[in-house]
Amino acid sequence: MKDLSRRQLFEKAGRFLILSNAAAAALNSAEPNPYSTADHWWGMTIDIDQCIGCGNCAAACQAENKVPEEFHRTWIERYQVQGDDYQHPQVESPHGGREGFTPLPESAAKSFYVPKLCNHCATSPCVQVCPVGATFESPDGVVLVDESYCVGCRYCVQACPYGTRFIHPEKQVADKCTLCYHRITQGLTTACAEACPTGARKLADLKDPKDPVHEFLRTNTIQVLKPQMATGSKVYYKNLDGAVR
């Protein structure tokens, strides 16, 4: 049994070696079951009770996607709520949490971490306003940017209610979380989920009946960010506090 699983691992590792040296296009055709966008509908689940604010996700995202130093495709916020004053939480996110947070001493305030990223909205305001069709929702539910087509008008950055977009300082085009599209379309998970030590962030395929996301949504208290914006967000938070913006 153990040998068998090892052999599988060997095969996978071998495949990875070949693939990482060959062009990604060849990768798809070489696969026995090529990726089909019709079979997937991607999102993410975030368990607030598991997030320890280590910042590994934010750092991993930067490493995986060459995110510029001053901008963030994903970041972590630390909330502190004093008593019943949930309308004025104190929030911080130094360097987007990439280097972690200074430990917070025990106090009367309630405090917790909230990871943020693009919500890959099903009816996304950023896609709606793009004048040229340079940002779009892929058939498998990921909001992407066409770097070679974006004019850099910044309208999408204005339209995103969550502040997840920015203009790449060198490329001068809109940049954002791709839900690691280059990874998830070849069977890997996102860099942030890969690097998360507690499993607080998990990639979710809502079209896969075997994906644990269905159980997660069914058995927990679930919230999306800014539900009043009606964006069809596909990043589902478990036990998200009402103070979170």
Binding site: E70, V129, V132, R245
Partner: protein
């Protein structure tokens, strides 16, 4: 709350610290507003038969053209990839207000404004193509588009078509600037912008700025060419400016009162901003100096009789203050809408640079450019010649 080194107070989402739309995007609605307003003033004479403003008819059209030519430049300079801007015409995204603006712009420039000016000036163009010399002769001949037919029948037809073009032009001018308002007003993520009043406030402020601009330019050109000012015309323009401004101010106050009374989740943030970072540009410049003061000045001329010299002085000052007020309004919409976090927990600062791509210097140059174009247009197609020929 402490102010950080980046000018951030409280909490902003990490990508929000830098403003997306700069002073160049302030110029864009300011300039298109002047275009729409000037055109509507011109159409007062043509369609609504307000004969008193006739001396400024052609000047208003030329002003609209001069500013319309410049209107897309700040947008173009602002783009991260200006060389890709043609994509807006190639693959316009139907759901994007910005994409549709490109077509409205072209429609307005090519079908409305150029055609109306051409039809109105055709007789002069043909005449000048025959009487001028050298390069000018070539330019005028080019402008005739190969037709020298200025028979009364042809001109009569021109006039009728011109009238129809003006009729089409009025809703087009409304559309041009209403749409600019919609570009901002439809951003649901931004509480400062997102209001159905935005297009209509933009439209009325456009009329205000366009009328004030043509009034000022008319006074300036008359002074420069040592031509007597037609006071009946000036009084009428000032009267229209007063009434349109009154509507504009009421709409803006309605928006303000509504926001204060509803006091939704964004109110605390916006209220704080108006009392701090936007206090000078919003309360002092826009409301007091740029709106209430010129309105009061214009109101006085409506109820009291003054000598012509005093009236000219009042109109000039009211006009200048109006321009300041409308520019401040554009500034407060565009820049103000980006100073607060979409988390409503913090504020950032706009740093206006000088000699950078989106700095103060290019903005000043962009504001001088339409006047240079207008100067050329006035030389090429004199707007006041008909007074000589009487």
């Amino acid at each position: 709350m402490l102010m950080g080194p980046t000018g951030v107070e409280g909490f902003m989402y990490p990508n929000e610290v830098e403003l997306q739309w700069s002073v160049l995007i302030v110029l864009y609605p300011f300039i298109t507003g002047l275009v729409a307003g000037a055109f509507i003033l011109a159409s007062l004479e043509r369609v609504f038969k307000v004969e008193a403003v006739k001396p400024t008819y052609r000047l208003a059209l030329l002003t609209a053209l001069a500013f319309l030519i410049v209107a897309p430049l700040p947008l173009q300079m602002h783009l991260g990839h200006p060389e890709r801007s043609f994509e807006m015409y190639l693959t316009p995204h139907r759901s994007s207000a910005m994409a549709m603006f490109g077509f409205i712009y072209l429609w307005y420039l090519m079908v409305v404004l150029l055609v109306e000016i051409w039809l109105d000036y055709r007789a002069e163009i043909v005449h000048r193509s025959q009487t001028s010399k050298g390069l000018l002769k070539f330019v005028y001949t080019l402008l005739t588009l190969g037709s020298k037919n200025v028979s009364p029948g042809a001109l009569r037809l021109d006039d009728r078509v011109g009238y129809i073009v003006t009729l089409i032009g009025i809703p087009s001018a409304f559309l041009l600037h209403g749409y600019v308002g919609f570009i901002f007003g439809s951003v649901k993520a931004n509480a400062w912008w997102s209001t159905p009043l935005m297009p209509i406030v933009f439209l009325f402020s456009a009329m205000v700025s366009g009328i004030a601009a043509v009034m000022l330019i008319y006074m300036a050109v008359s002074w420069y060419q040592k031509r007597p000012i037609d006071m009946r015309c000036l009084d009428t323009i000032a009267k229209y400016l007063f009434y349109v401004f009154l509507i504009d101010f009421s709409l803006e106050m309605l928006d303000l009162v509504h926001r204060i009374y509803e006091a939704d989740e964004s109110f605390h943030s916006l209220d704080f901003m108006v009392h701090t970072r936007l206090f000078f540009s919003q309360v002092v410049l826009q409301i007091w100096i740029g709106t209430i003061l010129p309105l009061a000045l214009l109101a006085v001329t409506q109820v009291r009789t003054f000598t012509e010299a005093v009236r000219r002085g009042i109109y000039a000052s009211a006009g200048l203050l109006t321009m300041v007020g409308i520019f401040a309004m554009r500034w407060n919409v565009v820049i103000g809408g980006q100073l607060f976090s979409k988390s409503y927990l913090g504020y950032t600062t706009y740093k206006l640079e000088f000699a950078t791509r989106e700095g103060l210097l290019p903005s000043i140059l962009l504001m001088i450019l339409p006047f240079l174009i207008l100067w050329t247009l006035v030389k090429l197609l004199p707007p006041f010649e008909e007074r000589h020929s009487l």
